[in-house]
Every structure is written in structure tokens, then in C-alpha cells.
């Protein structure tokens, strides 16, 4: 192992980013080794296919490599930033596969184009929602709350689309999202207490 890499391994993510911004592949390798697993897992959770998850993860990491210098620590951790890129790319993939948003956006700050809920099927929604087990923070929620949060975060559906798919009023979806996130937030706060 190179001395540069050994040194990089001792650095926090936020300290690696300036090195990555200077195009240091050793620093980036350390970053990949730390977060490649969770990034791939998230991509796989969303797209449901290994090959597609690999492509999504690779695109996301290359995006970090190219834009590392623009990372803004005030907007959250490096890990959260990177996972938000993975999520955006994965949702892009789902939409492009469905043929409703053929172009891939490479602007991770852009708000993504949405497809019409009328053209989605309940079956597709449920496949995405039940694609893997619900665990972790979301597992503490009542099923009606976890369902809308899963459909939004892992399925990439808007609140209006979710309301139409589930056949419930939009206000109900909003309320479930809010209650669910507040409960998760409360659990996090308790964990820190």
C-alpha cells in the first residue's frame, strides 16, 4: 500500500474531499472502500437488479470524483451527499427504463422530471415497495406510514402519484409522510439523548 493511501486512510471523509478535488486517486480509493458497500446496497434496493445497481453506483462515484471540489460541508456529510447522488441516479434509471424520462440527468442538484402516475401500475408500485425487507429507522413505523415513505424515497414517486396509486386523498399521504418522518426523527433524537 502506498504511503499516500495510508495517509488518506487516517483522514475523515470531509478531509478526503479536498484531496479528491485535487484528483488524488488514492484518496478516492479510500472513499470508495468506505462507502461502496452502502452505495451499492442503496442502488440495488432501488433498482432491484445487480447489473443496473453496478452502473448506478459507478456513475454516482464518478460524479463524486468529478465534483468533489464542489462539496459543501454546510449541506451535510459527505456520505449523505454521496447517497443522495446514488438515489437520484437510481431513480433516473427507473424512469428511463420505464421509457418516460429517456434522458439521464447528470445534474445531481436538479429536481428530476416526474412521470405521470396515471401511467404507473399498482403492481409496479408494490414491486418497488416490497422489493426488500423494511428495516432500520423505517421499521418503527405503522405500515401505512412506512409505505408512503418507501414509495417516495425508494420508488421515486411524488406525493400526488402515491395518492393516486393508493387511492387515498392527497392530504392523507401528506399526513402519513409527515407523521412517519417525525417519528423517525424522534427515534433519532432519542438515540442521541
Amino acid at each position: 500500500m502506498s504511503v499516500r493511501k495510508q495517509r488518506a486512510e487516517r483522514l475523515a471523509d470531509e478531509e478526503l474531499m479536498p484531496l479528491i478535488g485535487e484528483k488524488d486517486p488514492d484518496a478516492f480509493e479510500v472513499f470508495y472502500d468506505r462507502h461502496g458497500g452502502v452505495a451499492y446496497s442503496l442502488a440495488y434496493r432501488i433498482v432491484g437488479e445487480r447489473a443496473a445497481a453496478e452502473d448506478v453506483t459507478q456513475e454516482a462515484f464518478i460524479s463524486v470524483w468529478r465534483s468533489g471540489a464542489r462539496f459543501d460541508q454546510a449541506r451535510g456529510s459527505v456520505r449523505s451527499w454521496m447517497l443522495s447522488i446514488v438515489r437520484n441516479r437510481a431513480i433516473d434509471f427507473l424512469r428511463s427504463r420505464a421509457g418516460k424520462a429517456p434522458k439521464l440527468t447528470f445534474d445531481d442538484d436538479a429536481i428530476l422530471e416526474r412521470r405521470q402516475a396515471d401511467e404507473l401500475t399498482e403492481e409496479e408500485a408494490m414491486r418497488r415497495e416490497t422489493a426488500s425487507e423494511v428495516r432500520g429507522a423505517i421499521g418503527v413505523l405503522p405500515v401505512e406510514q412506512s409505505k408512503v415513505i418507501e414509495l417516495a424515497y425508494f420508488g421515486g414517486f411524488s406525493q400526488s402519484e402515491i395518492a393516486r396509486m393508493l387511492g387515498v386523498p392527497l392530504g392523507t399521504v401528506k399526513g402519513r409522510m409527515r407523521l412517519g418522518l417525525e417519528k423517525i426523527r424522534g427515534e433519532l433524537a432519542e438515540g442521541l439523548a
Binding site: L112, R135, A152, S160, R185
Partner: protein, 235 residues
Amino acid sequence: MTQTEHAHERWSEDLAAYVLGALEPERAAELERHADGCESCRSQIDWLAPAVRALPDGVKRVEPPPRLRERVMAAVRADAVAHEARRSSFFERLLGAASRPLQPLAGLAAVLLVAAIAGYAIAGSGSDGGGGGATTVVAGQAPGVVAKMVREGERSTLHLANVEQLPDGRVLEAWVQRRGEVEPVRALFVPDREGRASTQLPEMDGVEVVMVTAEPKGGSDSPTSSPIATLAVPQ
């Protein structure tokens, strides 16, 4: 209720959808404009955001295949090579610029193309020779020229596509770099009418970078022009 309070009331019910990325784009943009001037909404967004950031933690862990790491790092190393070339006149050093200035080619787009060798395929040793399924990921910014290298057993072949026709008296020459030293491959080749060109490469042990330049007919002992393709080889 004041107008501001009324607006806040209207937007507050959308905050959860906003942090989840589940608000329609137009409405999300409107909410952001409102939140810019509404401290209450901003603080609510800041408070809810960690709940969304926690969602990936609940995803069942799936180990990525080792080849993914190889693909990512090959692309990154190739891009790093290109960056270094741009930043510190890397190629001027390679070419001995102190004594021989660069000679940009007339009529040839001297683009720097970096191909990450995700498709640095190692084909099976069987007689079909096609087990690699090579796919090349182009990581550079330059459009046009596409480079792909395929290894079959001990033999490696470099394929280029979309190469512009060379000026008269010029040929393509391949180079390899080992431990920072550039060596000629002694392989001269030219693109066909469709802009495709291929050449065999020698023993690849220790090769870090493969480059192609346009040289005078008969070849050169060291590069005399900027590379039209540069490929970083995964180690």
C-alpha cells in the same frame, strides 16, 4: 392570521414530501422560495432532513462485486492521468519539450481522450476467444475517438474508432508507459475509411498507460505530438 402565517400554513404540510424528494418540481421550487423567507419552514426542513438521511441505513446490505471497484478505480485513475497531463504539462515532459516543442497536427483533432478500461477485457483462453464481453467506458470529455483494449491470453489489441484521417505522411504509433518511462511499441498503423484502427500490443506487464500519437511515416523513437488517445491500465 397574517398573510405570512397563511402562506406558512399552506406550505408546512408539504415539508415532509419536500425533504423526501416527493414534491412535484414546480411546487418544490415554490416551497424553496417561500422557505428562503420563512424561518419556521427552514427549521422544520432542517429538523426533518436527518430522518430522510437515515433511510439508507435501513437497507439490507448487499456486497458489491469486486469488479465494480475495479471499474470505478480504472475510470478514476484514467481521469487522474488526464488531469495531471492538463495541469502540469505532463506531455511536454514526456516529449522532452525543453528541447523540442509540441507540434500540433494540422487537420487532426489532437484530442485527449481518456478511456477507463472497464472493458479491459481478459478473454478466455478457449478457441472462441470472445469470452471477455469488452465494453469500454469513456471517461474523458473529448467526444469522437473511442479507444478499447482487449486482452486475449498473452495478446492485447488496441482498437480505436472515429479517428480522423491522418495528414499525408503520418501514421499512428502506440506507446506504453512503465514506471513513468515511455517506450515505443514499434507498432505503426493507420485508420481505415471508417476511422477504425487496430494494433497489437506487446507484453503488458507493468504497463501503466497506453498512448497513441500521430508520427511521421516510419515512426519515431519518442512521441512528437500530443496523444489522440490515452488509456490508463488497471494495475
